[in-house]
């Protein structure tokens, strides 16, 4: 519901630009026209949206798992951390977009090149957020655990991971917004299905209304995805900070 007001504002702005500048509809179609196109092409849009959504979801899942595993590995092996962290940071100086043609070359025109894009784009934020939280366990807790005679892996599982969940959650929130960007760019570079492909296709055929409709669907999809992840994240954060009743 909190998106309603900003959405209405954007619509108003959009409509007033159309009225004031009197741009032709193939440059900027009025909202009403886009709405009609959206409804008229709902089956087509849904078909492509499902493709993009599955790329995003699989990329998100795999990227999150890979990011978590990396963060745990780095947290448990400080020496690995010293070597690998600079490599990770350095890798971020290459924009993931640059890799899109290469990924298409390697993984083909199907789902996997887009999944890889989504995965790569969220891998670093997830790894970095979770790892930073894993190495920030309050020292007093760790000392207590050591005096108790806790083993390294059990201290990780029962103490450091639960304490680091809020950090992981902020990484996942970012990932929910980044993953669709990766998938769409992947589709731009080479695809035969998906909303990114549909955007390029309708643009090439001067079907601006359809292109805008596709953009709208991507935006709504991303917002919904973020909302779902955010909900889950809030629940887990509350649990980690002790705001929810624990299940005994």
């Amino acid at each position: 519901m909190k998106y309603l007001l900003p959405a209405a504002l954007i619509l108003c702005l959009w409509q007033s630009v159309v009225w004031v500048t009197d741009v032709p509809a193939f440059i900027l179609p009025p909202p009403a026209k886009v709405a009609v196109t959206l409804w008229g092409n709902r089956a087509l849009l849904a078909e492509h949206a499902i493709v993009t959504l599955s790329e995003v979801m699989i990329g998100l899942l795999l990227g999150a798992i890979l990011g978590m595993v990396t963060a745990l590995g780095l947290a448990m092996a400080p020496r690995l951390d010293r070597w690998l962290k600079p490599v990770l940071v350095l890798s971020q100086s290459i924009p993931v977009f640059v890799l899109a043609p290469i990924l298409t070359l390697w993984f083909g025109y199907g789902l996997w090149s887009k999944i890889m894009m989504a995965l790569l784009i969220i891998y670093f934020p997830v790894t970095s957020a979770f790892h930073d939280a894993l190495v920030a366990t309050p020292p007093a807790w760790l000392r207590q655990a050591e005096v108790m005679g806790g083993t390294r892996w059990r201290v990780l599982w029962f103490l450091r991971v639960p304490a680091a969940l809020p950090g992981l959650m902020s990484g996942l929130r970012l990932a929910a917004v980044y993953a669709p960007i990766g998938a769409i760019i992947g589709e731009w570079v080479g695809a035969s299905r998906g909303l990114g492909y549909l955007m390029l296709l309708s643009n090439g055929r001067a079907k601006t209304g359809l292109m805008f409709a596709a953009v709208l669907v991507v935006a709504v999809m991303t917002i919904l995805l973020h909302a779902v992840v955010n909900r889950l994240a809030c629940k887990i954060e509350n649990k980690s900070r002790g705001q929810a009743e624990p299940s005994l």
């Binding site: 309050p138 020292p139 007093a140 807790w141 000392r143 207590q144 655990a145 050591e146 005096v147 108790m148 005679g149 806790g150 083993t151 059990r154 201290v155 029962f158 103490l159 639960p162 304490a163 649990k239 980690s240 900070r241 002790g242 705001q243 929810a244 009743e245 624990p246 005994l248």
Partner: protein, 246 residues
């Protein structure tokens, strides 16, 4: 503690510094201290003389500190597995219930938690009804009692207490002190406190630590009751000594 390995005494000799590498900033010492096995020793003194540092030295964990000298158990055993620590900060894990916080040590060691004993300990510190509650919902005093239950659950021959009763109201404090004394009898307890009345009532041995070093205070035989005249006399003696030390 049933007949198991002998209860060790503690002995400390040397100094502790804040910087592990350069040895700058002396936190404690040089001094030498022994804690008799099986007795409750209270360590009193003004803030900042290194009382908590001394406790930390006995956990065998330098934690960025440097020690010139030794802090050992006189049986020669390693502190790990022999020592339980109740730090100033309760250090409860906010995602766990009160009961789960009591047996967290078992979880961390990979043992099966002893539910019955954990529950019994919660009862004894007066938190029997709060076992299933999230620990963050407890008041400051309740959290301290929970931390005490967790320390008792560890069932170690040596117990280091860092102001364990400071957040408790007077009535609860007396009750919980009795519970602690009862459950820790026969073990070696080193108890850091600011409160002369607490030390006078509960301790077998009392040491005052100030910047010039350690001063032992003789403790007469008494009833361990707060209104025992001997306890009250000792309290005022200790207060006077602390005023001189500050």
């Amino acid at each position: 503690m049933t007949a198991r390995a002998p209860v060790p005494g503690l002995s400390f000799e040397g100094s502790v510094f804040a910087d592990a590498r350069t040895g700058a900033r002396r936190l404690l010492g040089p001094l030498s201290l022994t804690v008799t096995a099986g007795r409750w020793t209270c360590l009193l003194g003004p803030s900042g003389v290194g009382k908590s540092t001394l406790l930390q030295a006995f956990t065998g964990l330098p934690d960025g500190l440097r020690m010139d000298g030794s802090a050992v158990l006189d049986t020669g055993a390693q502190p790990l597995g022999q020592v339980a620590l109740m730090a100033q900060d309760a250090g409860l894990l906010p995602w766990l219930s009160a009961l789960q916080n009591v047996w967290i040590g078992s979880r961390l060691r990979g043992e099966r938690p002893d539910h019955a004993r954990a529950k019994a300990l919660l009862e004894q510190v007066g938190l029997g009804a709060q076992g299933a509650q999230n620990c963050t919902r407890l008041s400051g005093g309740q959290q301290q009692r929970l931390a005490l239950a967790r320390t008792l659950y560890e069932d170690r021959p040596v117990v280091l207490l860092d102001e364990p009763f400071s957040a408790l109201d007077v009535a609860t404090r007396l009750r919980v002190q009795d519970v602690a004394r009862d459950l820790l009898s026969g073990r070696t307890v080193l108890h850091v406190t600011h409160d002369p009345a607490e030390a006078a009532r509960i301790a077998d041995d009392i040491l005052i630590l100030d910047h010039s070093g350690l001063t032992p205070v003789s403790v007469p035989q008494h009833s361990k009751q707060a209104d025992d005249p001997k306890v009250q006399a000792l309290t005022s003696d200790l207060t006077r000594l602390l005023l001189e030390a500050a």
